[in-house]
């Protein structure tokens, strides 16, 4: 497994993420989900990728997949401004706490989610939350969509520069349509 970009997230253990270099391959994994959830973190509000915000890629991705959405921190306001009403708004650790329970009804009350994607969290904070899910939610797969290796995720992107990330997200959205 590759090293995470931020060394604070270095894995001390044996069970690390699988880095998916190819957007199409990640798309195939995501498509298998029956009840996918996309969790928006606050950093996706400000990250600009050549004139388009990361949050907009998240919205496109959720729409293409028909995924349920969860706004954490203060992202709800931005999503509303983008014309999207999130299916739920929680603190990040609250949604993670719910996801731990296999019998939870999920944000759409249709059953717990089987694949959960994260976009726009601090990497250290996000990696800790992913650790919780790795240890306590064996019933679901986690995927990170930010350009950093997240060792505690089930599937992670590689560390990459902004231009490559933009390309990756565009290809991922395309593969889901």
């Amino acid at each position: 497994m590759s090293l995470p970009l931020h060394y604070v997230n270095v894995l001390t253990g044996l069970k690390g993420c699988r880095v998916i270099e190819d957007a199409q391959a990640l798309g195939k994994i995501i498509k298998k989900a029956e009840r996918p959830l996309l969790v928006f973190g606050p950093r996706c509000i400000d990250i600009d990728l050549g004139g388009k915000k990361a949050i907009e890629y998240g919205i496109e991705l959720a729409k293409a997949l028909g995924a349920a959405t969860c706004a954490t921190a203060h992202t709800k306001k931005k999503l509303l401004e983008c014309g999207v009403t999130p299916d739920s708004a929680y603190d990040a650790v609250e949604i993670i706490n719910h996801l731990k329970d296999p019998n939870w009804k999920g944000v759409k009350k249709l059953g717990n989610h089987d694949i959960v994607m994260f976009l726009g969290m601090r990497t250290d904070f996000g990696n800790q939350g992913l650790s919780t899910l790795k240890h306590y939610a064996p019933h679901l797969k986690t995927i990170t969509l930010c350009p950093y290796v997240y060792p505690h995720a089930s599937f992670s992107l590689a560390n990459m520069k902004a231009d490559k990330w933009k390309e990756y997200l565009e290809n991922l959205v395309k593969s889901l349509k």
């Binding site: 970009l5 931020h6 060394y7 604070v8 894995l11 001390t12 253990g13 044996l14 069970k15 973190g41 606050p42 954490t72 921190a73 203060h74 709800k76 306001k77 509303l80 401004e81 739920s88 708004a89 603190d91 990040a92 650790v93 609250e94 993670i96 706490n97 719910h98 329970d101 939870w104 969290m121 601090r122 990497t123 250290d124 904070f125 800790q128 939350g129 650790s131 919780t132 790795k134 240890h135 306590y136 064996p138």
Partner: protein, 765 residues
């Protein structure tokens, strides 16, 4: 809990049970499991949430053991047990740091004044030690009594440490119960430490409007001899200040400090100055402005001898907790030590408070002579940055995930805006420099990027006055003062420290009571308005609606939690004495207090927060605190929120998650503000109080999230709770979500919802 005859007699003797200030309650000097049933009741609603930092256990020679999945370690422990063990260890480390600090102060002061030296906190503080009274059942009267508090805590710590040994405790819940116990003890020793130094060093007490003191690295007159005290124990500094006065040179020198010693120095002498929080330790010491560095204990960098050597600052270490491998010269004569420092350039350890203070005062004017203190100029910084190749290694090791390489590259090009912004967010570890293959001194470059401003901070005032509690007790419990916001802890902030000011100001404007301490109190003073005033100059210093208070250093945190206890005692007339369960239950259900540790980094901060949790005070933490690995979260509407109506003696399912969590991490300032407003909601709120609290919650939620809160239905009990200004909007929302009125309570309590020796009548007064 039943105790043996000998032990009971020992306790009765220690707390002078025959004194009749209050009847002795059910748990005098509780042992580690005496309040276990209260803990389990809390943990049933607020379950531990674990985010393991490591998948492995590396504690013993069986290991390393992989604890992922269903796997257990060679000793049988699982991942939750291991996280619980970490939680207990953090609490023990934090409590021990405060406990050893308190022990040092009390022993020193007993040596100086005798154990019969009286506790007198002034005419406005009659309930002098709410924690000692509530936890131990002892009303301390002398320094000797304070020592009993320390001995009691030391006993608890040994028991706690023993449980962390492999082959002992294994249940995560029992680890948590023990951790909560140690957290409770932490507040006892913090209280002991601050009372001891307040009476021993004659800090201000029974005064709300304490003076203002200089704050910021720009506040230091570097043309004078400068001593910088680093740490948390002001004993040596007080002696040094006395000696400087005796020598007639106090006005000619600068006594400065970083972290909590600085707080206590300005309580001793408002001519002393605070440089800033611990995140500025490396930055400031690197400037070489300090002619003499005086270290004591806690939150002191491990590499200060190297730093001092590099800048030519003299160094005296004064605590046996941080000896740095230096020569212990405690046994030598003062003049000989002065000679060793000034002529041989030796860095020394002096473990005698009076001797260290005297040496420091005598050394300071000598070592300052002829020293040049040159702050890096912009030209110099540009020169230093020239080597930067933007390899990005600095970015990879930054614990705050900052983009250092871009800022450094800009400096290389003569632009300082990004570096100034970076400095505002920098947590001051220096890891970027050690990773840099070109050895660029990034922290030095920051000297040229920062503004060298001067700010004002209000001197820490110590305990909240009883008269203030009398005034605000009813409004707090009824909810018409919407809450007590305690902003505490270290400076490991996710963004600029200015966020602390913004949060404090938001709540002060809304007429919450805002109480600050430690590094957070410093950060709050480091922003001025258009008129050049800091938050301490803009808001009244009273423990009252809209007040902004600085109680002092870390150990003064006990006065914040003590104020919540005093509300139960002074306003509600509940006896404190050995009555922890009743008092904690009262606070949980009726006192809308919440803590914010936005930049918590230390085990002490973890332990303080855990102590708050046991007494029913929720704590909001910044994102770095996810690395503490443990939170206490409820599942909102999915949990059972049944309480006992104390007057009717009926179990009632309130369906109201209040307070919703006991310990939660949030990622952004905006979310922190919303969460804190919500966590001030209590089941005891009157309709008027609930309206006010919901008014703030709705208004803040709309401001930052754009809609009504999507959990509003959980907190509206009936129509009377709806804030008038949002009446129509909320009524429509409630109709849409199928809201139904909730049962009303006359006296909410958890007593009676679990097996306990406490009769329900104990909470009814």
């Amino acid at each position: 809990m039943s105790k043996g005859k000998v032990k009971s007699e020992e306790i009765n003797k220690t707390i002078r049970a025959e004194d009749n200030w209050e009847p002795v309650g059910p748990t005098p000097m509780p042992e580690i499991s005496d309040l276990r049933r209260w803990d389990m009741r809390l943990l049933n609603t607020y379950k531990p949430f674990y985010a393991p930092f490591c998948d492995l256990c590396c504690f013993c020679t069986y290991g390393k053991c992989d604890l992922t999945g269903e796997k257990k370690g060679a000793c049988g422990i699982n991942i939750s047990g291991q996280q619980g063990r970490w939680a207990l260890m953090f609490s023990l480390m934090g409590c021990s740091a405060h406990g050893a600090h308190a022990r040092h102060l009390v022993d020193y002061l007993i040596d100086k004044y005798g154990e019969d030296y009286k506790i007198d906190l002034g005419g406005q503080v009659a309930v002098e030690a709410p924690h000692m009274r509530t936890v131990m059942g002892l009303k301390p009267e002398t320094l000797g009594d304070l020592r009993k508090g320390i001995e009691f805590v030391e006993r608890g710590i040994i028991h706690g440490v023993s449980a962390t040994h492999m082959g002992q405790e294994g249940s995560s819940l029992d680890f948590e119960s023990k951790s909560l116990h140690i957290g409770m003890l932490d507040h006892v020793v913090m209280e002991v430490a601050d009372i001891a130094q307040t009476i021993g060093f004659k800090f201000p007490t029974s005064v709300a409007e304490t003076p203002l003191s200089g704050l910021g690295w720009g506040a230091v007159d570097k043309s004078k001899p400068v001593v910088t005290c680093v740490g948390h124990n002001a004993a040596v500094a007080t002696v040094m200040i006395d000696q400087l006065m005796k020598m007639g040179i106090y006005d000619q020198v600068e006594v400065t400090g970083i972290c909590c010693t600085a707080h206590d120095n300005i309580r001793y002498s408002d001519k002393a100055k605070i440089i800033g929080p611990l995140s500025k330790q490396l930055f400031f010491l690197r400037t070489g402005i300090a002619d003499l560095v005086l270290t004591d204990e806690q939150c002191v960098r491990c590499d200060i001898p190297e730093l001092a050597k590099a800048t030519g600052s003299a160094l005296i270490a004064t605590s046996d907790k941080i000896s740095y491998g230096l020569d212990d010269v405690t046994h030598k004569e003062v003049d000989e030590i002065v000679r060793m420092i000034t002529q041989e350039g030796k860095q020394v350890l002096i473990r005698d408070v009076d001797k260290a203070g005297e040496v420091a005062a005598k050394v300071l004017p000598i070592v300052a002579k002829g020293r040049k203190k040159e702050i890096a100029t912009k030209e110099k910084a540009t020169e230093l940055a020239k080597e930067c190749k933007q390899c990005g290694l600095c970015d990879r090791v930054c614990p705050n995930l900052l983009n250092i390489s871009d800022a450094t590259a800009d400096v290389r090009d003569g632009k300082f805006e990004k570096m100034a912004d970076l400095f505002a967010k920098c947590v001051g570890c220096g890891k970027c420099e050690q990773e840099c293959p070109k050895s660029i001194p990034i922290i030095t470059i920051m000297q040229a990027a920062t503004a060298w401003d001067t700010f004002n901070i209000r001197v820490g005032r110590g305990p909240i006055q009883d008269v203030e509690i009398r005034k605000v007790g009813a409004p707090i419990v009824l909810g018409t003062i919407p809450g007590i916001i305690a902003i505490v802890g270290c400076s490991n902030y996710p963004e600029e420290a200015e966020e602390v000011v913004e949060i404090a100001e938001e709540f002060a404007k809304r007429k919450y009571i805002v109480v600050l301490s430690g590094c957070a109190a410093m950060a709050a003073g480091m922003k001025k308005d258009a008129e050049g005033k800091t938050i301490y100059e803009r808001f009244k210093p009273d423990f009252d609606a809209g007040g902004v208070l600085n109680v002092g250093s870390c150990v003064a945190n006990a006065h914040i939690t003590g104020a919540a206890m005093k509300v139960a005692n002074i306003f509600a007339k509940l006896p404190l004495r050995a009555n922890y369960e009743v008092i904690a239950d009262y606070i949980l259900n009726r006192v809308g207090a919440v803590g914010l540790a936005w930049g918590a980094y230390s085990q002490k901060a973890f332990c303080i927060g855990t102590g708050c949790n046991r007494m029913g005070i929720p704590v909001v933490l910044g994102p770095h605190s996810a690395k503490y690995r443990r939170l206490y979260l409820s599942r909102k509407e999915e949990d059972d929120w049944t309480v006992m109506d104390g007057r009717k003696k009926e179990l009632i399912n309130t369906e109201e998650p209040s307070p919703e969590h006991l310990s939660i991490v949030v990622e952004s300032k905006e979310r922190a503000i919303i969460t804190m407003a919500k966590l001030c909601i209590r089941k005891n709120d009157t309709a008027q109080g609930r309206q006010l609290k919901l008014n703030h919650y709705i208004s803040l939620y709309k401001q930052h999230m754009g809609t009504l809160p999507d959990d509003l239905q959980n907190f509206v009990r009936n129509d009377k709770d709806i804030p008038i200004v949002y009446k129509k909007e909320v009524a429509e929302y409630l109709k849409n979500v199928g809201w139904k009125p909730k049962p009303l309570l006359t006296l909410p309590t958890l007593i009676g919802t679990y097996e306990s020796n406490i009769p329900i009548d104990a909470v009814v007064k």
